[in-house]
Symmetry: C2
């Protein structure tokens, strides 16, 4: 009986939250690696990973986990990268590929590149999917199916290393796109970082209302507000790190948003009916694009109501 | 064989879009009225209402439709109210109850009250539910099940009239709350009008990006942006009218939001990690409230992923 060998002999996970545990599950599903080793900040997460069946070995010692690994994937908050890179560097084997799942890419390259030994490859990645839930028990193998994963290898990176990480994500169900790191950070500032900044702010505005009104805001949240509360339920440390690491692109897009909001405010104040209608009509083109790009998972249940 | 008489003998719908047609379907489901008459701006909508089986009679003539009606419900855009009231007033029977489903209540009372004949009751209402779809074919009988409907009768309104409209919405599956009109407009400015203003603005900001980046924003919209595109896909004329009719409350809450956004912007600019983390943590309390209030229809599918 001939069984084709898995893509990767040993893969090491540094961190095993929603994204890490989902990828580990997808790797199991696709038989993409012979051995999955896992480290985490807490023994509790390691025990959960073992119980849930997607870790072959675990250790609180980063060096132990990355030893002999062909691929090392950082699945923890951006603020942990420098420390993790310093700790794992001496134990990385020559030819190993370091990758990650962080939501910002320029700063990841700046943090990791100087700390990795010669002969170790760096292929940063960002799967564009997720839920508002955290922790290893929140993951599921289907999280990446049909979603994009963006890879941002630094200029001149080894093509074989890029191909391996591409094959890993494709094996996990993703579509893969290669992008320049700074461009990734500008696009994601618009699609993800600005929406989260806005959602956190609007829910914060509601938090500051007098108690009686706040209770009614919760009661009548079906009018649109509840969608924002879901976005603003994401992990605070994760988002703190995103904004600290993508400051320039986020501030630039926030500035544009502010200008547009001022224009809307002015149109409301002066009762400019035609301007308002035009503002609310021009946004429909992008909605059609999103639907055509099949990036709206809620489309089918909503449309089923018709 | 004894069958209890329906709550209402004849109900007249002025407008038959998403909300009107959903209520008509719910009235059929609950046998809440003996006769449903419908008028609309176009014969096409009337034909659709007849084909879909929730209209007993239709006419483009408002007077014809409201004649003999015990309840008249305005289910069209706020900008049509004055014209509709002027046209129907001479044909309303003494004791008739006029109600509506508009998203702003203070201005509705200001528009309708002076135009209605003595002996006609006014019990404005607002079902807090909806989808981003429009038109009579988009409705469904279950739209109001388990959702709130807010009634805002003017001071001194007849209790019997209030009770009838309450029974109508409860029969359609809603929970009913009585509220002071100005208070309704402040609460909804926060839960619904501000979120829509923000969603339209953020999608507008994306619309203005260079073509190449805009295409990628659509492609990678799964990161949070797509939720805003869904909210910003709502009917432009509907929202134009909401902002024109609830100007003061919306501008007041927009001002608060702006202050909070400036604080966030400042924390990002100065790299204030603790402030950011605190800002993103305090919003979780409201999210818990929304979940406990069971106003999140997406809760179950999301949690099922765990």
């Amino acid at each position: 009986m001939t069984v084709s060998a898995p893509l990767i002999e040993k893969i090491a996970f540094l961190g095993i939250g929603l994204i890490g545990s989902s990828l580990a599950r997808a790797i199991r599903r696709g038989n993409l690696a012979s051995h999955i080793s896992v480290t985490s900040r807490t023994q509790k997460s390691l025990d959960t990973a073992t119980e849930l069946g997607f870790a072959d070995s675990t250790s609180l010692d980063v060096k132990e986990v990355v030893k002999d690994a062909d691929v090392v994937i950082i699945c923890s908050h951006l603020s942990t990268y420098t420390d993790l890179a310093e700790r794992m560097a001496p134990a990385l084997k020559p030819g190993a590929i370091v990758t990650d799942v962080g939501s910002v890419k320029g700063s990841v390259i700046k943090m990791l590149q100087p700390l990795l030994p010669d002969g170790v490859h760096l292929v940063p990645g960002h799967p564009v999917s997720g839920t508002e839930f955290s922790g290893p028990e929140s993951g599921f193998a289907e999280l990446f199916d049909g979603r994009w994963c963006i890879l941002t290898p630094p200029p001149g990176e080894d093509q074989g290393a890029i191909d391996t990480i591409r094959a890993l994500w494709e094996g996990a169900g993703s579509m893969v796109e290669i992008m320049e790191p700074a461009h990734h950070d500008r696009v994601l500032a618009m699609t993800s970082h600005l929406p989260h900044a806005i959602a956190y702010t609007i829910v914060g505005t509601a938090t500051d209302l007098e108690t009686h009104t706040r209770e009614e805001v919760i009661k009548f949240s079906a009018g649109g507000f509840r969608d924002f509360t879901r976005i603003a339920a994401s992990n605070p440390v994760f988002w703190r790190d995103v904004f600290l690491n993508n400051r320039e692109a986020v501030l630039e897009i926030l500035q544009r948003f502010n200008e547009d909001l001022t224009a809307l405010q002015r149109a409301i104040r002066w009762g400019e009916a035609d301007t308002l209608e035009q503002m609310f009509t021009r946004t429909q083109e992008i909605r059609r694009g999103v639907i055509e790009a099949k990036q709206d998972e809620y489309l089918e249940p909503d449309e089923a109501k018709n």
